[in-house]
């Protein structure tokens, strides 16, 4: 093998090594936008602002809160909202009411501080970031009532059509596919394979770099380490809308005479998990002795392991466990009968 051949081989093996390293940096995992932008409101009035969060990672973001840290001419009204949990690849909106003081006419820069946490296994990070966007306060005669205090009527967010961002990543992906096809085609037609190898190596490097930068290797790991029973065809998936309790089940639940806590373990992409969640919800609606909670296995791997839903290092969902009992119900097949048995009221 010539020397530059060896260099290329080394490069490829280097890329392989890169695959097996995780990125554990403390990076923000949320992206956000503010609506409306710019925010226009009369002096002395208040308007609703919506903050949209998108989670582009495989981790859950917790306790997302926003607070005003801009000039004193503005203040937020009411109790600040928080988003308790924002799951992997999900998005959510948080609204807050911003009031402008009477003498604040002009153009301002709104500044909101965003605070949230997320955990990778045992390591938890708190992220503090700020977001700026333009605010225009127009001159207005505020309405006054008898005692002279201003009334604050909140201007709701206008019906803003949320622009779906142009799918640049998909365009890039399509370009990459066309490049690969072109290079392979040229190699086939002209027999010039060396240039094809170099062309493919360039696409390869770009693809890997972008993929790792956007955390796709973590996504691959998340997909690989959690097994959703219906996904590989160990049982059939059913939507949550198909959940209905039989007469016998309702009667049996009525005989439940002790307090029971059920935990449903789920994953974001699991097709049959909503069915298991809905079934437990329905049972809890029938019997007030049942309390329940849903646990995302990506968020609580230790709890999942402690609850016995991990078989040979692989977390299996959906799984239902009853507090205090070692039994685990995997999957959704005959779930009603198996749940009744777990509750001790089965026939």
């Amino acid at each position: 093998m010539r020397r530059h051949d060896r260099a290329l081989v080394l490069l490829l093996f280097g890329a392989l090594l890169l695959l097996s390293t995780g990125a554990f940096a403390q990076d923000p995992i949320l992206t956000y936008s503010v609506l409306p932008s710019p925010l226009t409101l009369p002096a002395g009035a208040a308007a609703e602002v919506q903050l949209r969060f998108e989670n582009g990672s495989v981790y859950e973001a917790d306790d997302i809160a926003a607070s005003w840290i801009g000039s004193d001419a503005f203040e937020t009204l009411g109790e600040p909202e928080t988003i308790e949990i924002l799951g992997a690849f999900e998005s959510a909106t948080l609204s807050l009411v911003l009031a402008a003081s009477g003498d604040s006419v002009g153009e301002h820069t709104g500044v909101l501080q965003i605070l949230y946490t997320y955990c990778i296994g045992e390591l938890c990070y708190q992220i503090v970031e700020s977001i700026e966007w333009p605010i225009v306060v127009e001159a207005a005669v505020p309405e006054t009532v008898g005692d002279g205090t201003q009334t604050v009527s909140v201007i709701p967010v206008a019906d803003v059509h949320e622009e779906t961002p142009f799918p640049w990543p998909w365009v890039g992906f399509a370009v990459a596919i066309v490049c690969i096809g072109g290079v392979l085609g040229i190699a086939r037609l002209t027999g010039r394979r060396r240039i094809a190898v170099i062309g493919l190596a360039v696409v390869l490097a770009g693809g890997l770099a972008y993929g790792i930068a956007s955390n796709q290797h973590e996504q691959a790991q998340a997909i690989g380490s959690v097994l959703c029973i219906s996904c590989v065809g160990l049982e059939e998936a059913h939507p949550a809308s198909e959940v209905s309790l039989s007469q016998e089940a309702v009667a049996a639940l009525g005989t439940l005479d002790e307090d029971v806590e059920l935990t449903v373990f789920y994953a974001q992409w699991c097709h049959s998990c909503p069915f298991a969640e809905r079934m437990v919800e329905r049972m809890a609606e029938v019997s007030d002795r049942i309390s329940y909670r849903f646990v995302n296995v990506d968020d609580a791997p230790e709890e999942a392991a402690a609850s016995g839903i991990v078989e040979s290092g692989r977390t299996i969902v959906p799984a239902v466990v009853r507090a205090g009992l070692p039994d685990v119900l995997f999957g959704i097949e005959d779930l009603e009968a198996r749940l009744l048995e777990l509750l001790g009221v089965g026939g």
């Binding site: 093998m1 010539r2 051949d5 290329l8 081989v9 490829l12 890329a15 392989l16 695959l19 097996s20 995780g22 690849f89 990543p169 992906f173 990459a176 690969i180 392979l184 190699a187 086939r188 027999g191 010039r192 394979r193 060396r194 190898v197 493919l200 190596a201 696409v203 390869l204 693809g207 890997l208 770099a209 972008y210 993929g211 796709q216 290797h217 973590e218 996504q219 691959a220 790991q221 997909i223 690989g224 380490s225 097994l227 029973i229 219906s230 996904c231 590989v232 065809g233 160990l234 049982e235 059939e236 992409w269 097709h271 078989e311 040979s312 290092g313 692989r314 299996i316 999957g331 097949e333």
Partner: protein
């Protein structure tokens, strides 16, 4: 056993170790396995390229990381991974009793399976191929039945049916799955001509005796089609050639 075959059995054992027996422990599943290998397998530590591809399509993620990894594998060895590493390929190998000629038109079937897998994942928003995959039958359905997680139900019977069909095919036609149906083989086949591992024919030495063709598990005629997309670069023909006209080489193509 000849030297190439002995080496190949070694790398195939490595494939089994890395793929099925979790030698590296859980935690590197962001490595995509270079072969058809169910990530649902209780001891799997890497993720199946075809399974991941379907999941990414379901999520709507443009699969850059996946594409980059497939290109790495394609350039490193192309379908060499089928012959030297893939656990399901190894099973095909062990059942290779009848090395019959390949049906060229049917060998494009794997590309149809690949395109069908992509389309079905998008259309049904589910991993449809996995529900039929014979590798999943062996590596997921059966182990989980023994572990008590899965039960004998309709999906299980479907899995056993595809596995049974594939096993019969493999026994009657060597590397039946690799020849005609494997979507991963289809993916790697795209890069077979440009991969660093390649089969070379020294035409001056070749007497066109066809001894290599009797050895090829893929049913090719290596002296006529040494860079075919069906070639898994296993080296059976190299060993079968009495004139040393064929050789496996590693490095950049000549031009």
């Amino acid at each position: 056993m000849k030297r190439l075959t002995a080496t190949r059995r070694g790398t195939q054992a490595l494939g089994l170790l890395f793929g099925l027996f979790g030698v590296t422990g859980i935690g590197i599943t962001h490595v995509i396995f270079p072969g058809l290998h169910c990530y649902a397998c209780p001891l799997a530590v890497t993720v199946c390229p075809i399974g991941l591809m379907q999941n990414l399509i379901v999520f709507g993620t443009p699969p850059y990381f996946w594409l980059g990894t497939i290109l790495v594998y394609g350039l490193l060895a192309g379908r060499g991974f089928c012959g030297w590493f893939c656990p399901f390929g190894t099973l095909n190998d062990l059942l290779s009793f009848r090395k019959v000629r390949i049906l060229r038109s049917l060998s494009f079937g794997k590309f149809f399976v690949l395109v069908g897998t992509v389309f079905a994942a998008w259309y049904f928003a589910d991993t449809m191929f996995c529900k039929l995959c014979p590798a999943a039958s062996i590596e997921a359905s059966l182990p989980y039945l023994l572990l008590g997680v899965a039960k004998v139900n309709r999906p299980f019977i479907v899995h056993m049916a595809t596995l049974g069909g594939t096993l019969i095919g493999m026994t009657l036609i060597s590397r039946f799955w690799c020849r005609y149906l494997c979507p991963m083989g289809g993916l790697l086949a795209l890069f077979n001509r440009v991969s660093l591992l390649h089969l070379r024919l020294d035409e001056d030495r070749c007497s066109s005796c066809g001894a290599c063709a009797t050895q090829c598990p893929m049913g090719l005629e290596p002296h006529l089609e040494h860079d075919d997309h069906n070639c898994i670069k296993c080296g059976a023909c190299v060993e079968g050639c009495h004139l040393d006209a064929l050789s496996l080489r590693y490095g950049l193509p000549k031009r």
